[in-house]
Symmetry: C2
Subunit: 402 residues, 2 copies
C-alpha cells in the first residue's frame, strides 16, 4: 500500500484531517489515506478514513494483536467509556484487563466500520468532489469492503498477522470474511451469533427498516443533513422493528410480559400502555440521537449482500480451502436472527475444508443479543479458545501480579 498521503492520529494527537464535527478531540484515533479504497461494487473511495481504538500493548514480534469487529450499529469503543454517550464500552464484559480478550496479554484493535457514522467514512462524510455530505452518492459498501479498510488499518499499524479476529452478528460476518479473504493473516477466528449469509427473513426485516426511513419525508432523498431536517421518526421505527429481532420471545415475555407502564389499567387508547411499548419507543428515540439514518441504510445493505458461498461458486467450503486458521464458532439456542443452523452451515463448510474448528451452542433464552450479555459459558469458551491458541502461537502469558 502507498504510504504517502497516509495519516494516523492517535489519542490526544493533532486534529485529524477528516475529523467529524461531533467527535471529541480526545479519544480519537484515526487512520486516513488518500490511497483509493477499491470497493466490491467497482467504485473506489478516496480519501477515506477509519476511526479506531486500541488497548494493551503490541508485543515485540507483533504476534498478539486481536481485531474486534462490531455489529450493525456498534462503534470502536469496545472497552472504554464512549465519549459521545458516556456509556461503558459495548463489550466491556468480553474485552479488558483479565477479561476473556485480555488486554493485559493482547493488543486489541477495534475500528468503526466503513459506511457507519462514528468517525469512519460513511454517507454523512463530506464528499470532496461536492463539498456536501455524500448521502446516497457514497458507493454502497460490502462486508468485504469493511474488511479491506480494516486490512489497511492493520497494515498501517505494522501488523502482518492478526492473532485473532473476534466479533458477533455483523462482526461475525467480518470475522468470516477476514478468514476467507486473508487466511494467512488470521491465526484464529471467533464468529459469534453470525452466519455466512443473510437469510431471506433477515433481509426482509432490514428492508422494513429502510422503507421506514425512506418513507419519512424528512429523509429528503437522503439529503436531510443539507436541508436541516432529520428522519427521526422513520429511523426510530426502523430501530424498533430491528430491536425486536435482537431479543427472544421468551426474553421479552420474561422482561415485560403484559405489564403496564406506570398505570393501573389499560387506557383504551394508543399511548404506550404496555412496558414493552414504552421500552421499544425508548429504544427508537435514543437510537436517533446516536446514529445516522443513511448509515443505517448502508450497513444493513452490507449485511444483506453478504453471502460467502455465492462468492465462491455457491460452495461455502471453498471460502476456506487450505485454511490454517483455527475457528471457534459460537451460537445461541434462542437466537432467531442467526439461528444455530446458520452457524452449523459454517462449521460443516469448515469441516469440509479440513479446518481446525470448535463449535459451541450456548443454551440461553436471551436471543441474538446474548453475545453482548453476561453469558458465562460464552466467556469460558472464548477465554479457553484464545488461551489455547495463544499457547500455539507462542504468545507469552500475562505477567503474574507481583
Amino acid at each position: 500500500m502507498g504510504v504517502q498521503g497516509d495519516w494516523t492520529n492517535t489519542q490526544a494527537a493533532a486534529e485529524p484531517r477528516h475529523r467529524e464535527a461531533d467527535q471529541p478531540s480526545s479519544l480519537v484515533a484515526m487512520f486516513g489515506t488518500d490511497e483509493p479504497l477499491q470497493l466490491t461494487s467497482g467504485a473506489s473511495l478516496a480519501p477515506w478514513q477509519i476511526a479506531y481504538q486500541t488497548y494493551g500493548t503490541l508485543n515485540a514480534d507483533k504476534s498478539n494483536a486481536i481485531l474486534i469487529c462490531h455489529a450493525l450499529t456498534g462503534d470502536q469503543h469496545v472497552a472504554n467509556v464512549n465519549p459521545v454517550t458516556g456509556k461503558p464500552g459495548w463489550w466491556g464484559l468480553m474485552v479488558g484487563p483479565g477479561k476473556p480478550v485480555d488486554t493485559d496479554r493482547f493488543f486489541v484493535i477495534c475500528s468503526n466500520v466503513l459506511g457507519s457514522c462514528l468517525g469512519t467514512t460513511g454517507p454523512a462524510t463530506t464528499n470532496p468532489l461536492t463539498g456536501r455530505p455524500y448521502a446516497l452518492d457514497l458507493p454502497v459498501v460490502t462486508i468485504a469492503d469493511m474488511v479491506r479498510a480494516q486490512e489497511m488499518l492493520v497494515d498501517r499499524l505494522g501488523i502482518d498477522t492478526l492473532f485473532a479476529v473476534v466479533g458477533g452478528s455483523m462482526g461475525g460476518m467480518q470475522v468470516l470474511q477476514w478468514a476467507a479473504s486473508q487466511p494467512e493473516r488470521v491465526f484464529a477466528a471467533v464468529p459469534l451469533a453470525a452466519g455466512a449469509r443473510h437469510s431471506s427473513q433477515n433481509i426482509a426485516f432490514h428492508e422494513v427498516g429502510r422503507q421506514a426511513i425512506m418513507a419519512d419525508p424528512e429523509w429528503r432523498a437522503g439529503r436531510y443533513l443539507e436541508e436541516g431536517t432529520r428522519p427521526a421518526k422513520g429511523l426510530s421505527v426502523a430501530r424498533m422493528a430491528a430491536h425486536i429481532t435482537y431479543m427472544s420471545e421468551l426474553a421479552l415475555q420474561r422482561k415485560f410480559g403484559r405489564a403496564l407502564q406506570d398505570r393501573p389499567n389499560i387506557t383504551f387508547g394508543f399511548d404506550a400502555d404496555f412496558q414493552v411499548e414504552s421500552y421499544l419507543r425508548h429504544q427508537g428515540l435514543s437510537f436517533v440521537d446516536r446514529f445516522d439514518a443513511n448509515s443505517y441504510l448502508y450497513v444493513t445493505r452490507a449485511m444483506d449482500y453478504f453471502d460467502l458461498a455465492a462468492d465462491h461458486g455457491g460452495v461455502l467450503s471453498r471460502a476456506f480451502t487450505g485454511t490454517r486458521t483455527r475457528f471457534c464458532v459460537v451460537s445461541f439456542t434462542s437466537d432467531w436472527l442467526f439461528p444455530t443452523r446458520e452457524s452449523r452451515m459454517v462449521v460443516h463448510a469448515l469441516n469440509a475444508a479440513a479446518a481446525n474448528v470448535s463449535f459451541v451452542e450456548i443454551d440461553t433464552d436471551r436471543g441474538h443479543d446474548s453475545f453482548l450479555l453476561d453469558e458465562p459459558e460464552m466467556f469460558r469458551t472464548v477465554r479457553g479458545f484464545l488461551t489455547g491458541a495463544a499457547k500455539a502461537r507462542g504468545i507469552a502469558p500475562p505477567a503474574e501480579p507481583s
Copy 2:
C-alpha cells in the same frame, strides 16, 4: 335486545342506512341498530352496524349455524368472491359446499369485526355527532366488544345457540371470547393459530406498525380522510413488518431465499434487489388499497388488549368454569406469532375446567398463516371434529346427491 330501530339488509335488498360509499350495493348484508353497543371501555356506540355474509340454509330448529371469525385485516367474504378486490373468499378452502365447514350442511355466518373498515362501524365511519369520520374519536374496542356485536347479529338472525364458532389468529381470540362469555350459546369452538392473550413480542410488533402509521405526516393525527391525505407509506411499512411474522423463516427461505428480482446481479443500491424485498413492498402497497390506517390501529389494539386470564382473576381456567362447549384447539409447529405453547396454555386451562377438548398440533413449516393455506391435516381435523359434534348435536347430514 331492543328491536325498534334495528334494521337488516340482505343481499340485493334496499340501501342500508349506514352503507359505506365504496361498498357495492350487491353482496351487502348489513345489520344496524340504534341500540347502543356497550363497550368494555365504558363507552357506548350508537348507531352502529355490522356487515356480514351468510352461506347455506338455517335448519328448522336453528341448530346448524356456524360463525366464522376473521383475523386482523380479514373480512366477511369468507367463501364468496370479494366484491371489492375480485379475489376468492379468504377461506374458500375451509368453507363451502363439501368443505370441512360444509355449507351444504351448516348455515355459515361471517361478519366484519367492529373497528374494521369493510362495512362494519369503525374509525372511518361517520360520527353522527359531528358529521365527520370518527377517526380516533371512536372508542377503542376490544375482542369482547367484537363478540358482543356478533352476539347482537346472531340474536337478530334469530339464533339462540351457535353450533360452532371457528376462527384463526384474531379469529381464534374471538372464538375463545365467545366460549368464555357466552358458553351456553356455543356448542363447539375451534380456535386455530391463536392464544388466550397477546404476547409481549406480539404487542411489540403491533406497536411498530402503529408507530409507522402515526409517524406518517399524512396521517394528520387520524384526520386524513377529512384532509384528503393518505398515510399510505406508514401503513405499508406496518403491513410489511407484520407480514414477516405471518410466515416462518423456513418458508421465506424456501420461497425466496436470496434470489434476485429480475436482475442477474445485485445493483449496489437500495432498490428491491431481492425477491423478498419486492414481495414485501408489494404486500405493503396492495394492503393500503384495501385497508384503512386507523382501523389498523384499532384492530391491532384490540388484539393487544386481549388477555382472557386477566379478565378472570389471572386464572385462565376460570374463563371456562362449567363449560359444556366442545373444543378443538389447533396450532402449527412453525407459527412463531402464536406458538404451540400458547395453544397448550389454553388446553391446560380447558383441562383444568374439565372441558371436552381435543388438541392438534400440525406439523408444517409455513408459519402462522398456515391456517389460511392448504393444510390437509387441518382440514381433516376440522372436518372430523365438526362431523362428530354435529352428530352429538343431532344435525342432519347433508343430503346425498341423487
